[in-house]
């Protein structure tokens, strides 16, 4: 891959990964093999220990204390589906926001077509949410609140700590979509205290694991039905799904190779210190905002404040279709971005960019201020050509 690539699509998947991530995946394939929990030989046991190592790493980074309540899935979408379909029944009431990703909206809309009562709380045009607006929607039949921790469009961080206090007081399960925050910012709530909370995370973004990893951790008071039933390596004398955790939610063989990589990614983060990662991404956002202010016709959406957002920025250049901007950034300037609606039509409707969408930059710890400056030069050139024609 060309070393001059500027990869600003970390909100889709992070790249590059720390070297150890790839080394540990190779190590599993070459030296461990084995299927955890199925056999009793040393290779299976080594695989079991590797998976437990990955659970402990997730517990550490998400400030959680019970590895049996960490369920691995292939991505955050699967974890979110398990939670939504595992908790809600027709006739229940659920609350969510107007900036949720389709991994949340599509299951909820499907259940709505089957009788779920759904309240969608409107966020402001910068993607921010007043937690009191969630409180106002809570009613006796509310069975689940679902919120993204940070928007995949504008990066806006939502007030999950405040909402967690409302839901905890009322014993309502609270699902938090941490796809854009796990590994990027501290979770802000102590899951040990939030017994009604479920944190859904993905492994392949800020946790630096490979694709095919993700999961959730959940508090003791959360009761869910499984979505996938099958072989768990346990209770093999029964043909019904076991209740024991984590097996209840982990049927079939999990992505052991991927979890070896995920563990290495989290180890890297812990070694670097997530606070340092956060400060770096805030500097990148700040640099972009400063540079963008000098470009005529460049509009940034969202809070435009590094304190109020993760390392994600959506923008448009006036009169230029975002898909053209994305194409030119890629082909002429080797800058990778994501354009369009980002699997989130509702967030774009909320910020006023539907149906044209935006150009989205998603930063990681491996991006540099020099890369931001290069992007500013590219965008200035694009804006100049565009302004000449207009």
């Amino acid at each position: 891959m060309n070393k001059n690539i500027i990869y600003f699509d970390n909100a889709a998947t992070s790249w590059p990964k720390p070297k150890k991530v790839i080394e540990q995946m190779e190590y599993y394939l070459n030296e461990i093999g084995g299927n955890p929990g199925r056999s009793g030989h040393r290779m299976s046991i080594l695989a079991s220990r590797l998976v437990e190592d990955a659970r402990e790493a997730v517990a550490k980074i998400l400030n959680f204390n019970d590895t049996s309540r960490i369920i691995f899935t292939k991505n955050a979408t699967e974890a979110i589906n398990i939670c939504i379909f595992g908790i809600l029944q027709p006739g229940d009431h659920a609350i969510t926001s107007s900036v949720e990703h389709n991994s949340v909206m599509r299951p909820l809309r499907y259940l709505e077509s089957k009788g779920l009562k759904l309240s969608i709380v409107k966020c402001d045009s910068d993607g921010s949410l007043d937690p009191e607006d969630i409180l106002k929607e809570i009613r006796p039949d509310t069975k689940l609140v679902v919120l993204t921790h940070a928007s995949n469009i504008t990066g806006t961080i939502l007030p999950i700590k405040e909402v967690a206090s409302f839901t905890a007081e009322r014993g309502i399960p609270f699902l938090i979509d941490c796809a854009q925050t796990a590994g990027a910012i501290p979770t802000d709530i102590d899951i040990k205290e939030c017994e009604n909370c479920i944190l859904a995370f993905t492994g392949h973004k800020s946790l630096f694991g490979p694709t095919g990893t993700g999961g959730m951790c959940f508090g003791e008071k959360v009761k869910m039905r499984p979505l996938i039933f099958g072989g768990t390596g346990s209770s093999s004398d029964h043909d019904t799904q076991p209740n024991i955790l984590p097996d209840k939610f982990e049927s079939g063989t999990i992505n052991i190779m991927g979890l070896a990589g995920l563990k290495a990614g989290i180890d890297f983060l812990i070694k670097e210190d997530i606070k340092k990662v956060r400060e770096h991404e805030k500097r990148l956002v700040h640099q972009f905002i400063l540079g963008a202010a000098k470009i005529k016709g460049l509009k940034i959406y969202g809070p435009r404040d590094p304190e109020k957002q993760v390392g994600i920025i959506s923008f448009n250049l006036s009169n230029l279709d975002p898909s053209k901007v994305g194409l030119i950034l890629d082909k002429k300037y080797s800058i990778m971005s994501r354009i369009g609606l980002h699997c989130n039509p509702n967030a774009h409707k909320t910020i006023g960019t539907f149906p044209e969408g935006t150009v989205r930059f998603g930063f990681s710890y491996f991006n540099t201020l020099e890369q931001i400056c290069a992007a500013m030069r590219a965008l200035q050139e694009l804006a100049d050509i565009n302004n000449d024609f207009n």
């Binding site: 009793g40 079991s48 998976v51 437990e52 049996s68 093999s236 004398d237 097996d247």
Partner: protein
């Protein structure tokens, strides 16, 4: 001498238990679950049976779910074979 066996409902609990015992200076060894006492789970944990009370407390304090504690003198034989 490893003459006790803890059986589990899930292998993840067995691995947690192994870690807990080893981190607390107890001897422990994961073995294939003996069929006559462990139909539920592929692995079981050998330990020193005379430390039974202490180990049960350790597992309970750390919310490790186990099926049963067995006195399993056959485990001594297994230890000898593999030494």
């Amino acid at each position: 001498m490893l003459d006790g066996v803890i059986t589990f409902f899930a292998s993840q609990q067995a691995v947690r238990a192994e870690r807990l015992l080893l981190n607390n200076s107890h001897k422990a060894m994961l073995i294939p679950g003996p069929r006559e006492i462990s139909p539920n789970c592929g692995v079981a944990l050998c330990f020193e049976f005379d430390k039974e009370k202490e180990i049960i407390n350790l597992l309970n304090e750390n919310k490790v779910i186990f099926e049963r504690i067995h006195y399993y003198p056959e485990a001594k034989q297994i230890s000898k074979w593999i030494e």
